[in-house]
Amino acid sequence: MNLEFTPEEQAFREEVRTFIAENYPKHLADFGMREDMVREDFLAWHKVLGQKGWSVPAWPVEYGGTGWTPTQRYIWSEENARVNALMPLPFGVSMVGPVIYTFGNEEQKARHLPGIRSGEVWWCQGYSEPGAGSDLASLKTTAVRDGDHYVINGQKTWTTLAQHADWGFFLCRTDPTAKAQEGISFILIDMKTPGVEVKPIKLLDGGYEVNETWLTDVRVPVENLVGVENKGWTYAKFLLAHERSGIAGVARSKRGVEKLREIATHETLDGAPLIKDFDFAKKVSQLEIDLAALEITELRTLAGEQAGKGPGPESSILKIKGTEIQQRLTELTLEAVGTYSAPYMGGVSNDNGSNEHPVGPDYAAHAAATYFNMRKTSIYGGSNEIQRNIITKMILGL
């Protein structure tokens, strides 16, 4: 047991650091948590990585994965976090991609995997519905077979960044008579199909990143069914476990703590830097300690995956602690900026077209919006309460 990097791993770090320095798009430098970007911004780094062959490191090599060890993947995410890189979005790379290469047929793999790797095709996720949140299996969107098509009707919600999406993966009920979990299918839908309508939902921070997606008599060829009809719940759960394993966000939170310390060095309290105030410094140290623990927990999980265990229920711990830490970080940042947390400087996910200089310090401009925005993290991807249900069942055996 050791935490040391081998000379090969150190050389790998140098290699990726140099690659990032030379190739990461300059105008997206130090992106942070902001998402006030146009479509091409989101895809810029993804496309560079696609050409390099590094856009889907965790995939099996035969589908374009890099074959990196968990340690190399850890180094990769650390090096990207150092420059706050805007990473490829998860919907293709870590959600539908693994479902397609695991459960899809050869034709689906050939058709969809290249676009995910290259960043040419933007995917969105059609899971939640107005009446099906934590109780996802109660979803009502129907897919009725009509010749060699499904006709799909229903309403999805919280479809993140669907305004840019080319394709979506949807959970639809194909057997209304079966038990909740058993009549669901996993269907890929071209978002340009007639009857697909995407409507924005404005969030409390003022930003626009999620949507309602309405599906009205949408005709989808049956070859877009992934795996077996009515077995979609299995794939959905598989996907959620994959989604959770990347959700800890350790490297990014580490960078966030560094930034918080910088802010608290500029801000003053009683004439001294805020970070010298023991009450505040104590909160930052506690956060760093929780984060240090999570980092090792994630590495232990990765090591387990390398030993052949897939992402299991342990990933629920990463989701719970990772999001708690992300939220705490935004909370302390909000506290650190003090009175300049109040001016409204636009949402996290759109800049309202404004080029105005912020009222207070630059670092304060989005502190409140980010804090508001990050409340989503303990709700999405299976709320943290649902994660506790999963651990109860899968680990405690209750």
């Binding site: 300690i289 342990e314 711990i317």
Partner: protein, 376 residues
């Protein structure tokens, strides 16, 4: 980066796990604690026989060439069984001082006895008014010819009633709380002028108040350089904290498992109480706290050889995180056991007591959070 245990470490774990199973049933442990000696020298002899007492010493020093990870494996198993025998003061603390600061002659004299099980050590560092500051010493060691004369009072010296030898910290110069002027001594407990008041601790161990009245020791009793002992004490106590954290992890693992099992058996309102979501989520939070504590224990253990700041930060992080987890898991385990949790009859209360006292050893959560802030 590697989180695997070696085959040998796996064997040590299995061997100890068997010993704890065979020797540390609830009633066996209760009987040992209630006996006049308060421990079982025959278990100590078994540990020597299994090679456990020699594990963290190099082969050159007469040990089996293990290290901090081996100590972690051992302490975790001890924690699972609430083992009371003084592995930590003898092997980790005294062993640590000898390994890192001892002369060839001192190693020669003492390590063999530790490995064989014939020497038992206690580490007398705390003082009634010193709290967790190793430099806040009223005990003095005055130069007297070639040797020293010790005077003072050491508090809550764990394992001292069983010890043949003591490691003692004392001031050889400077003012109270100065970083310099702190020295470390090794002496036999039966040295003239050493008296003790022995007692039972709430978590079933034995300890002593140790009094030094004009205790003469030779120059050879000094470990390390005179007046420069603090850095050595910090290193050894950091090693002790990492090992203690491993012990706490073992105890937390069992306390959590017992609680889940109890919730499965105990029925109220016609159903097992483990079917209630309000209890399920609390047991999940205990589990998460335990896993995070294990991670911090790994981190501290694997950073013991790093540079000083990195080492101290990792160790303090562990003592904070494991301390918080131990508090949470101990209290919640008792709560979920209901009335049974507060009886002497149920094992869970005994895990709770050990996990409670853990916080006060080598600096509590507040102390180490403060040290973490100072190093950040």
């Amino acid at each position: 980066m590697d989180f695997n245990f070696t085959e040998e470490q796996g064997m040590v774990r299995d061997g100890l796990s068997r010993l704890v199973r065979e020797q540390y049933g609830f009633e066996q442990r209760r009987k040992a604690i209630a006996s006049s000696e308060g421990w079982r020298p025959e278990v100590w002899a078994q540990l020597a026989e299994l090679g456990i007492l020699g594990m963290p010493f190099s082969e050159a020093d007469g040990g089996f060439g293990g290290g901090a990870v081996d100590a972690m494996v051992i302490m975790e198993e001890f924690g699972k069984g609430l083992v009371i025998e003084p592995f930590l003061p003898t092997v980790v603390c005294a062993g640590g001082f000898l390994k890192h600061g001892g002369t060839a002659a001192q190693k020669e004299e003492h390590i063999g006895g530790i490995v064989a099980g014939s020497c038992v050590f206690a580490f007398a560092y705390a003082e009634p008014k010193g709290r967790y500051d190793y430099a806040d010493l009223e005990t003095t060691a005055k130069k007297d010819g070639a040797g020293y004369v010790l005077n003072g009072h050491k508090a809550v010296v764990i394992g001292a009633p069983w010890a043949s030898h003591l490691i003692v910290t004392a001031r050889t110069g400077g003012e109270r709380r100065d970083r310099s002027g702190v020295s470390v001594f090794v002496l036999a407990k039966d040295t003239a002028g050493v008296t003790t008041r022995d007692y039972v601790t709430v978590d079933g161990r034995r300890a002593s108040e140790v009094y030094f009245e004009n205790v003469s020791v030779p120059a050879e009793a000094l470990i390390g350089a005179e007046g420069e002992g603090l850095a050595l004490i910090e290193l050894v106590t950091d090693e002790a904290i990492a090992a203690l954290c491993a012990e706490a992890c073992g105890a937390m693992k069992v306390a959590h498992a017992m609680t889940v099992e109890y919730s499965r058996q105990r029925k109220q309102f016609g159903v097992p109480i483990g079917s209630f979501q309000v209890l399920q989520h609390r047991m999940v939070d205990m589990y998460t706290a335990y896993e995070q504590a294990v991670s911090l224990t790994y981190l501290a253990t694997l950073r013991l050889g790093s540079d000083e700041v990195e080492r101290k930060k990792a160790v303090s992080a562990a003592k904070v995180g494991v301390g918080q987890a131990a508090r949470l898991i101990g209290q919640e385990a008792v709560q979920i056991h209901g009335g049974n949790g507060v009886t002497d009859e149920y094992a869970i209360g005994h895990y709770f007591k050990r996990l409670t006292i853990f916080d006060s050893e080598f600096g509590n959560v507040d102390h180490h959070l403060k040290r973490h802030v100072a190093l950040s």
